[in-house]
Symmetry: C2
Amino acid sequence: MMTIKDVNPNLIKAQYAVRGKIVDRAQELEAKGKRIIYCNIGNPQALKQKPVTFIRQVLSCLEYPDMMNMPEAKKIFPADVIARAKMIMEKNPTGTGAYTVSSGIAFIRKAIAEFIENRDGIPADMNKIVLTDGASKGVQAALTLILKNENDGVMIPIPQYPLYSAALALYGAKQIGYFLDESNSWQLNEKILEDSIKEAKGKGINPVAIAVINPGNPTGAVLSKDNMEMIIRFAKKYNIVLLADEVYQENVYLEGIKFVSFAKAMHDMNEKEVTLFSFHSVSKGFLGECGHRGGYFEVRNMSPEVYGQLIKLQSISLCSNVDGQIVTYLMVDPPKPGDESYELYKKEKDTILSELKYKSRVLGEGLNKINGMSCDVPHGAMYAFVKFELPHKKDVDVSKMTVDELYAYDAKRDFDYCLALLEETGICVVPGSGFGQMPGTMHFRTTILPPREDILNLVEKMKKFHEEYTKKIAV
Amino acid sequence: MMTIKDVNPNLIKAQYAVRGKIVDRAQELEAKGKRIIYCNIGNPQALKQKPVTFIRQVLSCLEYPDMMNMPEAKKIFPADVIARAKMIMEKNPTGTGAYTVSSGIAFIRKAIAEFIENRDGIPADMNKIVLTDGASKGVQAALTLILKNENDGVMIPIPQYPLYSAALALYGAKQIGYFLDESNSWQLNEKILEDSIKEAKGKGINPVAIAVINPGNPTGAVLSKDNMEMIIRFAKKYNIVLLADEVYQENVYLEGIKFVSFAKAMHDMNEKEVTLFSFHSVSKGFLGECGHRGGYFEVRNMSPEVYGQLIKLQSISLCSNVDGQIVTYLMVDPPKPGDESYELYKKEKDTILSELKYKSRVLGEGLNKINGMSCDVPHGAMYAFVKFELPHKKDVDVSKMTVDELYAYDAKRDFDYCLALLEETGICVVPGSGFGQMPGTMHFRTTILPPREDILNLVEKMKKFHEEYTKKIAV
């Protein structure tokens, strides 16, 4: 029988805190009847966000195309839903049950290229777009393409969404962490990037890429165009690939702040050297269609030879799921003014986004008022990354710890804190150590997704818990 | 900019002939207006197999649950469809748009365990079952778990479905090929297995698993229980994991032959040491729901510690797509006698399976009659693996070639043959070298899936092509 000694050591090393021990414990407690508020993961429809009607109506027709010719269907579905579904059937006559070409259905890739052209005012090539089972699978494909051996490293933010660190561990490559600047709304800092890449090179690591998450996960930050231009120059200087995780592009809440894609920023700089991957998904934004596992990536500045290898990689898993491809299509080509579905679509979209905006503010401001907690009110994405302080026990002297010891000490403390929060209140958040944090600091990540009526209650519970825990731990 | 030198060398090595150059060429020709018969891939719905109505009706309801409460829905859907969809909503209230737990929705895993219990008369554990985006992703997960370093090797059949060789190349591990016995209906042969594993060990390779495809792809063979028992004893003797690819378990055509699962064979031998993965899929059988990317694997004889690592691996990609999970559920828990949908379901199932049986016979017998071609009439699965002979040019002396030279010579010849077949006739098949074959032999794999009316025509075209090509090449 296989034993743990027979397991891939890279897998054993990989950690993915978003679904780690605390979530396992939450499921145990839930099974015993405790009410759990899952703030650990950006899974909107699990927290009562309703699906956008148009998307689901079209899918419903496509799953059972015979229905569209029944007279009753006209009473159930708006005319533009049926017309759209029929158009999709015409362009993809093999339907939702057949494999597609490896890169995804051609007309959908064309629609994505047009979406990028319209969003950014720049040209886009449908033959440099690949549909994926969610953005995670796209990131994994990109990393598989670019990691040659255990000496290669990818620069990843600290804090970061742990998909990156988990995938790097799994593929046996090196993480080159770069701290985000918490004092400057979590923007990237050129000096920190330079120091970080030099330190890695000094250790003999070969940096091949930099991953940037914008809007940020877990930070909720939105990068300024200046900051992005600095990053592009940096990638060019060191001839490394830019991995732009842009799945939260629709989730920007702060007035006066706008999402800019890296494709657009590169185009405006007339940058034609830096190889770019940009990732998008149907799971976030206002669709929140996580369960459909749809998404795409677009690449720029890549030779046909390299691109061919990427397509071969996709072909080994055949293709992404067709429903996910269709949801991606409907995301990039939604109902237009004048279409029968448009009003409802717009209302649902606006409601979801304004609700998220409201909740990000109420949650962020509420947590900021708690003594010993602070966070940026999220500018975008679906999370607040909350810094918190705890007293040390009398016999602990952090000034005598090495950086590694301090990091481990914080990691144990933020884990214990989040576990106690779960046990006491049923609120499930992820410890900052699961994302990475500056040694000597502690954080947790919470989503802003619970229903409006739960948010204030959540802040109240956290306040009470934090006060009591602080007292208890000081003994 | 990235160049080919920056690409993962393992990816460059990986080959996946089912979607290789010949298919690219077919797509080019099709774009120019040529009619292509895609016999390269088991993609039934792309070749006009209609989806099973019950499956799609339930999915249609689940994508747009509000519909179920509309009076018109009762006119469109049988009562048991609506009842089933409502039951699924109750057990999975977050619907098709939310991430599920990493291993898949609990009640579906329970239904799969019951399906295995009913199919095999043996106990099964829902907590050793993982839902996946099709079987390919399951195989990749298993290999990721068990491959520790470049010294580890997996025994794979020759010929094999090239997912295995591609994944092993990609993960930087070794292939340990074992020939299937063409003279004995492609069964496994103990002496060949022993010779193969000894040779690998002699080269310093560490064998960690054996992959067995039953019913066979590309061979169409169905293993006898005796043969399976030999394989299990072999896996036990060498303490290697058994990877049982059983996606064609519903596709058995020959009278008197029955599919037996490796789980059942192991249970009957009271075997409790060999770690087993068995893979299943919604893409084959009679559903042919390839585009939905659904499937599962079950593991046996694995410690909780190892299993925990497997679940962590799944969690890094969050979960498989929910529609695919639901199709998997409907596959293992179909309508029962007495249900309103039962008669239609049974009729569709029987029609598809008897059609496949008819086509496997007509195609197999037809090809066998062609001078210079021979194959086993497929016992199962969806393919015929056809041996063919061509004359050598006068200046070629194969007796002077090394085994490697001979293999390369055959590979070029079977590739050229399949390309010419495509150009002349529009029939797209995959060269035997894409699956592996005995040096000195050539094959191609064709699916049995084209519509009944095309099959005889296909045989006729192949006959004519083979005669002409044989004449041409002899010059």
